[in-house]
């Protein structure tokens, strides 16, 4: 590629965000999906993922899908916790929102020609409204940071737009839960992205082996 053409065609693979390249981000995403949702969920695409744009996006979308599976299950299970009406209403709405995110992400994976990640089995260990709200805040803040970290790694602009429209909702959820907890709804002026490793570390304790 001629040097003066780099502006018109930035090579995503070589660009680092928070010390991660797109390649390493994709690989780690695939590994996490494989570890949490079963190796079969990753499929044979990993070896191609680093070479092809669509395959890389599939790995990223499947990574997001695991997070949405987790959130949806978390809110659906909350009906057993004897929540106050206000919190129960939020949980119900959030469960519906996250389910719509699942549907959209599954559609995106299929549209990209990929294999949809399987749903892991989760164990949240929440017993009452207090523990529910505490974990909800962690999950929503993590969701925001996960999407914000993944966003710049996405090649397909339609997928990026979809991820943006989803992360905005995660941010809104996070604020509402934080208000319930008496916390500042926006703890920082910038919602910095998390790396795959950071996200994986945060969600692994919630996945049943």
């Amino acid at each position: 590629m001629p040097k003066n053409k780099t502006l018109a065609a930035p090579e995503l693979h070589a660009i680092e965000i928070h010390g991660m390249t797109r390649s390493s981000f994709i690989l780690k995403s695939a590994l996490t999906v494989g570890a949490t949702a079963g190796a079969a969920a990753v499929g044979p695409f990993v070896s191609n993922a680093l070479a092809q744009d669509a395959e890389g996006d599939i790995a990223i979308v499947n990574f997001a899908l695991v997070l949405e599976y987790l959130e949806t299950r978390f809110y659906k299970k909350a009906t057993n916790l004897g929540l106050s009406k206000e919190v129960a209403d939020l949980a119900k709405q959030f469960a519906d929102d996250e389910q719509e995110h699942i549907n959209a992400l599954r559609g995106a994976v299929k549209q990209l020609g990929g294999t949809v990640a399987a749903k892991p089995v989760f164990d949240f260990g929440v017993t009452d409204e207090k523990s529910f709200l505490k974990l909800a805040q962690t999950l929503e803040d993590t969701g925001v940071a996960a999407y914000n970290g993944a966003g710049p790694m996405i090649k397909n602009k339609d997928i990026l737009a979809a991820a943006g429209s989803i992360v905005q909702i995660e941010g809104r959820h996070a604020a509402a839960i934080r208000l319930q907890n008496g916390e500042m709804p926006s703890p920082d002026a910038f919602d910095k992205g998390m790396t795959v490793d950071e996200v994986t570390k945060a969600i692994t304790p919630l996945i049943k082996k």
Partner: protein, 201 residues
């Protein structure tokens, strides 16, 4: 709490690879240095236009909260929230200004604003309108941004605007997700038309 300078520092981290002295062979440098520093063109110009547009919106928001705080309309918890939001918007102004300069552009100057801050309820309504609009504006621009570090920065601001919007909607007893499970983008012409009444011509 991240104040102005902390915000710039955060953005500087996000933009670590953007400097015109970036000459790593593995990093394509979408820096103005490649094309002659005076007149950024192509992708860099597009990003600068987006950044200056975002800066205009952040100037409006920061000035709005300044006027609201000066009017002393809120106290206690809501007062803390308004103060926090105002600090965030100022941090966004500082970070966007620094980013534009770093990319070789010229930051727009702050517009003179006019907001009616006489009534707490009306101000909360106005804040909700402005923040929901801000979130929609960032959402529409994100896929148009070419520079990955600028995109990371825009995304990190986008969800903060969303958090603000949801908080204000909560205070108003409105749905925190007025457009349902997916945020709705608003294009530049729509947004600029919506904020026009707040700018002194």
């Amino acid at each position: 709490m991240v104040g102005g300078s902390g915000g710039v520092a955060a953005m500087a981290v996000l933009l670590g690879a953007c400097g015109s002295d970036s000459n790593s062979t593995s990093t394509p440098a979408p820096a103005p240095a490649d094309t002659g520093a005076k007149a950024p063109s192509g992708d860099a110009k597009g990003d600068l236009d987006i950044l200056n547009y975002a800066l205009t919106l952040e100037f409006l928001e920061a000035d709005f909260y300044k006027k609201v705080i000066d009017a002393n309309l809120f106290n206690g918890k809501n007062g803390d929230i308004v103060k926090n939001f105002g600090e965030s918007e100022q941090a966004h102004v500082d970070a966007l200004t620094a980013t534009i300069k770093k990319l070789g552009g010229t930051p727009v100057t702050a517009p003179q604003t006019k907001f009616d801050v006489s009534d707490a309820m009306a101000v909360t309504e106005l804040a909700a309108t402005v923040e929901n609009l801000g979130a929609a504006a960032y959402l529409a621009q994100a896929p148009k941004i070419k520079n990955m570090e600028v995109l990371a920065a825009a995304l990190s601001i986008h969800t903060v605007e969303a958090r603000h919007a949801a908080t204000l909607n909560t205070l108003l007893g409105k749905s925190i997700t007025p457009d349902g499970a997916f945020g709705k983008p608003a294009e530049m012409d729509e947004v600029l038309a919506a904020v026009k009444p707040f700018i002194v011509a």
